[in-house]
Amino acid sequence: MSLLSLNQMKTSIGQYHVLHDVTFEVPQGGVFVLLGRNGAGKTTTLRSIMGLWKPSPGSVTFKGEDIAGQHASDIARKGIAFVPENMGVFGGLTVEENLVLATAKGKFDTTRLKRIYELFPALEQFWTKQSWSLSGGQKQMLSVARAIIEPRELILIDEPTKGLAPSIIDAMAEAFAEIGQSTTILLVEQNFNFAKRLGRGMAVIDDGRIAHTGSMADFAADTALQERLLSLSA
């Protein structure tokens, strides 16, 4: 059984219908990539899963339970973490405070913390700095670290490579590959090379509908399909 399945999810923001019919399944484990052009509805899909927009009608089934329409905080408590496009780091809080806030009980699990230090050494270095002073890449690391400080089942990550330097992108890719071994990641990405490296399963969204779903290996091989679904000229 898949970990997360979306069935005919529709979302309206104000008077605009952004998602018309989003249906796909995210299997347990590994990185699942959601691709699509600008404005196709990728971010809205993630936010609807997280409960930050209310989808209606349609269902969002997580571990066999329909979570559509539940409050974001309840969805988070079920084991879904969110790494938003703007990273959502609390600038007035230190790195430590940002991470403490993401723990369930206000205490760190030392093995998890050690793992985070290994993945992102910069965070240990700037532990007591206010996070507005971090670089973009470091903020992204903090945002991802916040998502894995507690055991989660599913992490929603929105365009983590946007505006980052290539060296940091590589570090991110390694981190995601490692995290993906124990946790499922639903990754929204514009950078196709990055997505290709990580993704096992994938889906393409276009104009608020799922246009294609399958394995990343097949999709990467089919340049015509890529051209049709992702190129800007289409």
């Binding site: 997280m50 905080s73 408590r77 969110f82 959502g88 609390f90 600038g91 403490v100 806030l101």
Partner: protein, 334 residues
């Protein structure tokens, strides 16, 4: 040498920056006033006034920061706090005049507790009944909270009447200390100390506790706090209640400071409170303290130097600061 001036600048920035503004104002006033004893008296008066205004304004600022909700009826809590504690004090006037300092303090404490309790309950009612239906709709929020302010003022008029109400003070806060040729009213020193204590408590809660962490995070990014698994609406009700209670406490202290209060008090304080939160930067407790101290000092200095300008001075101060820093002196990081 160059390095020295750089470190000096950095140190200055670390210890002060805009925090040094009240000091600068104080220094300029010292030169203009000339007489050191008057200057000390005015400065103490300004600081204690600033602390009371801080109590009234801090809640408003946090409430706005956390939920983007502007409560135009906030000053109703100030008025109610003043009148509730005035009534409580009048009821316990025997204890106030008693020779025992213990009874004095107990009476004062009970009166303040009555104001705080009223603020908590009224704040809960306000948030749940009046404001909750109009989250995210500024226009209706302004109108509805303004309507609530009108109703509250009318209720005060109906209950306490329109005539000025005199507020008894406990015996131990009457009179003043004489240090050389400097007079310091005891009540002012007390108001300053109590305000400072509340500020330190607030600061501790915000910086050292998990609730405080959540509030600071929520002020910056409400949605992300929810995505981390917290229900911010519940937190907000709590902040609203505490903010309202602090306003009521500020009103209660103000009543003792003025010793004669009228229902117009709320409206007068509302303007000052607005100016303070705008100057300080909405959402920031430190900024509110800074704004309140500035307004308190300016009101006293200018009241002494150029009485005719006293009331317009706040407005001029606000305009000047807005031109310099459009989002206030110390806005919460967004």
């Amino acid at each position: 040498m160059n390095q020295l001036s750089q470190t000096l600048g950095e140190t200055l920035g670390r210890i002060g920056g805009v925090n040094l503004l009240p000091v600068a104002v104080g220094l300029i006033a010292f030169v203009l006033i000339g007489a050191p004893s008057s200057w000390v008296t005015l400065t103490v008066a300004g600081l204690s006034m600033g602390m009371m205004i801080f109590l009234m304004a801090s809640g408003l600022s946090l409430i706005f920061g956390l939920m983007d909700v502007m409560n135009f009826g906030h000053s109703a809590f100030v008025s109610f706090g003043a009148f509730v504690s005035a009534s409580a004090l009048a009821y316990m006037s025997g204890w106030l005049g008693a020779d025992s300092i213990f009874l004095n303090i107990l009476a004062l404490f009970l009166a303040f507790a009555a104001a705080l309790a009223f603020g908590l309950v009224a704040g809960w009612f306000f948030e749940v009944v009046i404001i909750k239906p109009v989250y995210h709709d500024h226009l209706r929020q302004i109108l509805i909270t303004m309507g609530a302010l009108i109703v509250s003022e009318q209720i005060i008029l109906a209950v306490w009447g329109g005539a000025p109400v005199s507020v008894p003070r406990p015996a131990f806060l009457e009179g003043s200390w004489l240090l050389g040729d400097v007079t310091i009213e005891i009540y002012r020193a007390f108001a300053f100390a109590l305000g400072l204590a509340v500020y330190i408590a607030l600061y501790f809660v915000l910086k050292r506790t998990r609730i405080g962490l959540l509030i600071r995070a929520g002020v910056e990014n409400r949605e992300m706090v929810e995505a981390l698994g917290f229900k911010i609406n519940r937190l907000f009700v709590g902040v609203f209640m505490v903010g309202s209670a602090l306003a009521a406490l500020g009103g209660a202290m103000w009543a003792g400071y003025e010793t004669l209060i009228t229902p117009a008090l709320g409206g007068e304080m509302m303007i000052v409170v607005f100016i303070v939160v705008i100057i300080g930067g909405l959402g920031s407790v430190e900024g509110t303290l800074l704004g309140a101290i500035m307004v308190g000092l300016m009101a006293n200095y200018i009241g002494f130097l150029a009485p005719k300008l006293a009331l317009a001075s706040n407005m001029i101060l606000m305009m000047a600061i807005l031109l310099w820093r459009p989002s206030g002196l110390k806005p919460a990081v967004k």
